[in-house]
């Protein structure tokens, strides 16, 4: 312990708070939250907005599933159904998953992990949040002015001819893109220039590697989405013609542009989830992640490969045989870094000390569900099989296994894992585990049913369906209720801890991770003095007992 009481000098607004108080208590009132430059407060505000977006997207998902419970009309008419599944997709993708881990948890923990007082550009970080809010308002305003019924992919020419509020939604997406770019830019620069003493590239936590890879995709892919939706807006407002076949334009070019962003965006979504799993597994096995370097490089190669496989969304759209072959071959390559990650995680458990906390249960379910998501990707990468499965519920189930079974499980693992760190409160393990069980079971019921009906030929985005698919739709809808109930329990568990939770010791999990070696909740400037790291974040054999002290009386660690 080498507490130096001298405050760190500062020259921006945030310096006026007490640097020895936690970031939550350093300043009071609503104002310091609204114009804060502190990455932790910004991260927390992001988490609040993101959770609201998740709630909204989830409600639309449940309504869509409920409509499909019976054939014909169940609760809503067809046009409303088309709008709801579009909103579900657009909200979940653009307002929830893409910012979830990077802008929320990443913002909070990346600077702490790299030993910096803040991200490189705190003001840009604040702007990123407000741009996100503006983007959210613009895109959601579309609901009021007629909503959108194009599907979240906005395929032309339907999106240029439908009477719904596509321009508002796409303009919102355009704005949200800038928010995402600013976050990515901040992370890249922070990782390159702000690492504290002793934090070499080889000692960078895998979470930071994941955020760094994600940031690269964010800054390189998002501008292409921006120009694509800008062209789409021009198409709607002026009838520009670039995607209009009647004026010599090519509607398929839109798909190329769209997926050039949106496929890498899949890795913006999943790589951060994987990054959290690495952190959680190391802590709850008391073992370094097997193949640290391979793990870091697999994140980077996923980011790179993500740019080369967009065409696999268009195998039936009429590309040349040559490009189809190329995209299929490159798609198979994605299996290699994904496989490396899964094998390494599993091997990390070997000879570890596996502690079944809620975050660990989510991490283990991630491996379970992501394996299914990844392996079903093999079906879709195989050209001739994909022709049959493309645009069916098989694809829907596949990407939900990756996006929800992967990213959302990672997000929930991260929320439970870092909840004590962020809030200073312990949540109650028992309801959290009950919630986990319902989420895990509900998720599998919902989407396994969709795999089967998909391979049997049920096309996606159908308001009504033929009688042979009815049992599967029924099962899937019932699964969605279990899943929804589980998520509600988790939300209540976390929120109630804010009021009733016990105060958390600094390192309740006894982790060797860098972020746990600081005050809980973190201080205003993260550290009293920038720490010098002398070991890696997973080096349990080098960590002192003091590093790993969980702060609970002997024999009754938290949660057992």
């Amino acid at each position: 312990m080498s507490a130096v009481d001298k405050p760190i000098a500062g020259h921006v607004d945030d310096s006026h708070g007490d640097p020895n108080a936690s970031y939550l208590e350093a300043k009071h009132g609503i104002g310091p939250w609204l114009y804060t430059l502190d990455h932790k407060r910004i991260g927390l505000m992001y988490l609040v907005m993101i959770s609201l977006a998740f709630l909204a997207g989830g409600i639309f998902a449940l309504l869509v599933r409920l409509e499909l419970f019976t054939r014909g009309k169940t609760i809503i008419d067809a046009e409303t159904y088309n709008k709801f599944f579009t909103l579900h997709g657009a909200i979940m993708v653009f307002l929830f998953i893409i910012p979830s881990i990077p802008a929320g948890l990443g913002n909070f923990f990346l600077p702490i992990m790299v030993g910096a007082k803040d991200v490189a550009f705190p003001r840009l970080n604040m702007w990123s949040f407000y741009i996100y809010l503006i983007g959210a308002v613009i895109s959601l305003a579309s609901i009021v002015i007629g909503s959108v019924d194009t599907g979240w992919t906005f395929y032309t020419p339907y999106s240029t001819t439908t009477a719904t509020a596509v321009a508002s939604m796409t303009f919102g997406v355009f704005v949200l893109g800038f928010s995402s770019i600013l976050t990515g830019l901040n992370f890249i620069v922070t990782v390159h220039t702000m690492r504290g003493p002793g934090i070499t590239w080889r000692r960078l936590p895998l979470f930071v590697w994941g955020m760094y890879s994600t940031a690269l995709i964010q800054v390189l892919a998002t501008p292409v989405l921006a120009i694509t939706v800008a062209l789409l807006m021009m198409e709607r407002v002026f009838g520009l013609g670039i995607f209009n076949p009647k004026l010599g334009g090519d509607p398929v070019l839109f798909q190329h542009f769209f997926w050039f962003y949106s496929h890498p965006a899949v890795y913006i979504m999943i790589v951060p989830g994987m990054a959290i799993i690495s952190e959680v597994l190391a802590t709850f096995t008391r073992r370094p992640i097997v193949g640290y370097f391979a793990g870091a490089m697999s994140s980077l190669s996923l980011a790179l490969l993500g740019f080369l496989v967009w065409g696999h969304h268009m195998f039936t759209a009429g590309m040349s045989e040559f490009s189809t072959m190329l995209f299929s071959a490159l798609t198979f390559l994605v299996a290699i870094p994904s496989g490396v990650k899964v094998f390494n995680w599993t091997a990390t458990l070997y000879k570890g000390e596996v502690w079944f906390t809620t975050p660990m249960l989510y991490a283990l379910s991630f491996i379970f569900l992501f394996s299914i998501g990844g392996l079903t990707g093999l079906f879709l990468g195989t050209l001739s099989v994909d022709v049959h499965l493309h645009d069916t519920y098989f694809v829907v189930a596949h990407f939900h296994y990756v996006m929800m079974g992967g990213t959302v499980m990672g997000f929930l693992a991260g929320m439970f894992y870092w909840w004590p760190k962020m809030t200073g409160k312990l949540y109650n393990e028992t309801p959290a585990k009950v919630g986990w069980f319902l989420v895990f079971v509900g998720f599998n019921v919902t989407f396994i049913a969709q795999f089967i009906m998909g391979s049997r030929g049920m096309p996606r985005r159908y308001y009504d369906y033929l009688p042979q698919f009815e049992p599967f739709h029924k099962a899937s809808t019932i699964g969605s209720w279990i899943l929804g109930l589980g998520l509600i329990i988790e939300a209540v568990t976390l929120l109630s801890s804010l009021k009733n939770g016990k105060k958390s010791p600094p390192n309740p999990w006894g982790s060797a991770g860098y972020e746990w070696q600081t005050a809980t909740p973190p201080l205003l400037f993260n550290f009293k003095e920038i720490p010098v790291r002398t070991r890696g974040p997973y080096d349990y054999h080098l960590a002192t007992p003091e590093d790993l002290y969980d702060g609970f009386p002997e024999g009754e660690p938290h949660g057992d």
Binding site: Y81, P251, A329, A335, H388, H541
Partner: protein
Amino acid sequence: MKLAMLAPTSFQLPEAMSSFAPTIDDLYMKIYWLSVVFFVAIVGAMVYFAVKYRKRAGHKAEAATHSVFMDRLEVFWTVAPIFILLPLFHEGFRGYMDLSVAPADSIEIRVRGAQWRWEFEYPNGESDNVLHVPVNKNVKLIMSSEDVLHAFFVPEFRVKKDLVPGMYSSVWFRPTVTGEADLFCAEYCGGKSKDNTGAELPPAQFNGHWSMISKVKIDTPEAFDKYLDNMAPVGPLEERGRALYLKKACVGCHTIDGSKGVAPTWKGVFGKSHKMADGTDAVMDENYVRESILNPNAKIVAGYTAPSVMPTYQGTLKEKEIDAIIAFMKSLKE
């Protein structure tokens, strides 16, 4: 095979009715069993390790040491998957090439997709909205879209291809058994459940992506020939008009029993004067009907909001077909 009993092909995939189906199903099941093996291995190892090394009194994590064995294992599982993935890629690509290249002796059928109907035009120039194909003959579909993206999908044939406005796409198959299969639109193309005034239609009149479904009827060659022969227009003009009324999806909006639909009824309107949306009066004669078919926005009956949702039938209906529809309308007296 005993394993196959656990998850029979027939549970995961629809009936195989084309020459592609057996090869694709075979590859599908190969990937399926490969996935099962990997999944059981990964999750099995995960559960086994998690339980065996669970946190408990007297058990501590073993300190990590650098091991050459682990290094080798890592290299192994980085490199080994390539040897599994390569054959998969190769077999998938070969199958895809088979799907792409239609044999020269294929029967060509012209397919037009539009919101939200299918039209199949046979070599004899006649068309239908149900696809009839002969068994054991190669069939090539030349497809185009009149508005937005659609996709031709017959699960039983394992074929799917997008219909892109502004270009032709094609797909081929050889049905191997006689019978009937479902035909879907697999590319989202919108939908409509409200009329132009914003009032909700009865659910039976909802139209959209999900209702752009039809049937494929796989006939014996004799039955197929007979079907083609019977399509040739015979019988009174108004009967052909009635057939077109059903086939060309006029039925979706225009009623023939006098009830109000999305569009004016056809019953008892021919030859009479009607109030138009712009305040003028117009007589529904031959020229009026012809103009409305080719340019639906030219005149709109009062009470129906402009612009009309009706697509133009320019290029879709032949002159004699327009004549038949007019004859049919004339026959619908009050």
